[in-house]
């Protein structure tokens, strides 16, 4: 089958009634699972595998892909409303989304998130369709040295995530990094800081820290403030209408982050999380008033939401064009393909053009479905904030606990969740910012491993970075982000 015929038959499958129905089922299940605590795209897809056994492979993959990007789409809801990011890709969404919700603009925040996700997702699919085979070579260009340089660049963002004291931000960052070192060290197999506890061997689960540091700490503050006269938190969801000036503000970040997010998503191992952080920081650096970030900035919400959805499309590039899983989620998708009797690999494009193009075509429809599914639901979902405070607090705590329990089925993690809730509460009491903590926790493990992989390859010589042009570029950028603020400090006094 020739190239064009392949595209045609792919679109035929995607636009057949069967294709449309299963895309719909996929994205519907995806958004709801994304909203549920603890169930990220990985478990959502794993759950779908036995169900889809015996399906036509294209239809099954269309559905599972829908679950995947649907979950990323829906994951922003709990971040914005409850400050409880359910997957790592939506942590950055909470930075500005939750402040907006607190200011009584929950409806607007959800609408912006939905629209940004739609833009990022759709742009991502277009890029995927046009450039997938070409970008395949980009995906393989990244070895450990390049990853180290990229992650290091992302980590330098800690400085820009700080409000107020830089020292406090750095301390938070170092503490987060320390927690990332808990568990079996993958390069040597040595258990570190586990104190003989089997539960700590595989390290601390991301969700435990995210929900503890953000959601539970928030809950503690709600409890303390619940009887106060000056209610800081509006029990109001506001209108979800966006004004022309809102759209104007979204335009820049949405276009830039669609592209950047997609490219980062293409890199195996990077994915939606890194894309959303880099997108957030990038826009903050570019912004004329960076101090509005973290306080409910529209740009600060648009950037990560566009980037993480664009990255999700990007993650399909190595999967579909090379048969290489780029992330935990696409690895499970790869396993699912095996069950369906399709061997994913570099020849997928030639051997199964219908599947290849069918999935891509279905993603257009899926994104449209997600938008028309989510927008009308927003007023209802946002009403969660109208639940009487004591009841809401109990429900949020329950939500966090189910979420953590559903990933490990282990009560030990629930104690850890409580511990990080208390840590997060004290950090806020004494004005230590939480974002640097979570950022360096997420990146820390990858940075350390990629650096040590690099040095093992080079037998301990740092010179290897000089032989890698891509790595050099990232490292120079990283150094610039660290150094430049020192030179600029004086002129931007407010």
């Amino acid at each position: 089958m020739g190239g064009f015929e392949g595209i045609l038959s792919g679109f035929q499958v995607a636009f057949s009634w069967e294709g449309i129905v299963f895309v719909f089922i996929g994205v519907l299940a995806g958004t709801f699972i994304g909203m549920l605590p603890g169930l990220g795209p990985i478990s959502a897809i794993a759950v779908m595998i036995p169900i889809s056994y015996g399906f036509d492979p294209t239809i099954a993959l269309v559905m599972m892909a829908g679950v995947y990007y649907g979950a990323v789409f829906g994951g922003s809801t709990s971040s914005i409303l409850l400050n409880a990011p359910g997957i790592s890709g939506t942590v950055a969404t909470a930075f500005d989304g939750h402040p907006m919700a607190i200011q009584g603009k929950a409806g607007k925040a959800l609408a912006i998130a939905a629209i940004s996700s739609f833009i990022g997702g759709t742009f991502g699919v277009i890029l995927l369709m046009l450039f997938a085979p070409m970008l395949a070579s980009v995906a393989i260009a990244f070895g450990p040295p390049e990853y180290f340089a990229l992650m290091f660049l992302a980590l330098t963002a800690i400085a820009s995530l700080s409000e107020g004291s830089l020292v406090k931000a750095l301390i938070s960052g170092v503490l987060g990094f320390m927690f990332a070192t808990v568990g079996i060290d993958s390069q040597t197999g040595t258990p570190r800081f586990t104190f003989g506890n089997a539960n700590l061997l595989s390290g601390i689960e991301f969700l435990v820290i995210a929900l503890g540091l953000f959601a539970l700490a928030e809950v503690c503050f709600l409890i303390i403030n619940s009887k106060k006269e000056n209610k800081e938190i509006q029990q109001n969801i506001g209108s979800l209408k966006l004004s022309r000036s809102d759209f104007k503000e979204m335009k820049g970040p949405a276009t830039r982050q669609s592209l950047l997010g997609f490219i980062i998503g293409v890199l195996p191992g990077a994915g939606a999380t890194i894309a959303s952080f880099i997108g957030y920081i990038f826009e903050k650096k570019l912004s004329k008033n960076p101090e509005s970030f973290g306080k409910g900035s529209i740009k600060g919400l648009t950037a990560p939401e566009t980037a993480n959805n664009a990255a999700t499309s990007g993650a399909f590039v190595p999967l579909l064009s090379l048969g290489i899983p780029g992330s935990g989620t696409t690895a499970v998708l790869l396993g699912a393909l095996l069950v369906l009797g399709v061997q994913p690999g570099p020849l997928l494009f030639e051997e199964h053009p219908t599947l290849f193009w069918g999935v891509i075509a279905s993603m257009y429809i899926g994104n449209v479905f997600l938008l028309i599914l989510n927008l009308p639901l927003i007023p209802y979902i946002a009403k969660i904030l109208l639940i009487p405070r004591p009841l809401l607090i109990s429900l949020v705590i329950t939500f966090c606990m189910i979420g953590v329990y559903a990933i490990s089925f282990n009560t030990f993690d629930l104690y850890l969740l409580l511990l990080f809730g208390v840590i997060g509460f004290f950090m806020r009491l004494v004005h230590f910012p939480a974002p640097p903590f979570i950022l360096s926790f997420i990146l820390g493990g990858m940075i350390e491993q990629s650096l040590r992989q690099t040095l093992t390859i080079s037998n301990g010589s740092l010179g290897i970075f000089l032989e890698r042009p891509i790595a050099i570029i990232f490292l120079i950028l990283a150094i610039l982000t660290i150094v430049i603020p020192f030179f600029r400090k004086k002129p931007i006094e407010p």
Binding site: I33, L36, L39, S43, V47, P50, G164, S165, V167, K168, L170, I171, V174, L175, F177, M178, T181, D185, Q187, T188, G189, T190, R192, F193, C220, F221, I223, I224, S226, K227, P388, R389, P390, L391, I393, S394, L395, I397, T398, M401, I402, Y405, A406, F409, T411, L414, Y415, L418, V422, L429, V430, H431, E448, L451, R452, L455, T456, N459, G460
Partner: protein, 151 residues
Amino acid sequence: MLKSLNRKIAILLWIIALAYLFFSFNLPAYPYVPVDSDVLPIILGILLFLLAAILFFMKDEVVDKKKVNITQSDLFRLLSVLFLIVIYVILLEIVGFLIITILFIFFCSYVLGYQKHIVNLLTSVLVPLTFYLLFTKLLQIKLPQGVLSFF
């Protein structure tokens, strides 16, 4: 000497850094890699120690118009909720998800001063039940059944 908040925190961070360094230095060696598992933790420990030193000599920020005052009753409520969470975790796998979650939501809301008992009861039964059915029936993910093992 310890009047300033920053100094108190710095001392705490020093303790953390020293404990972390102590365990880092005691990590067993693995001879076949150029950078062993203890290198980065040692760097992190030293970094934290130095940063804490800077913090020690920093003035407290001009805190704050709205300093968080924690009243006695607030603290009591906070601690009771923490206590309820601990009870929840202890009993989750013994009593089972459904019963313990219903009890938790009800009592937690009650402790926080929610007076509409009927609404409270309805929510605390319906929400866990929905979650339970969603997870076990629809998603085939088992939650602890506890004493309701026939369900």
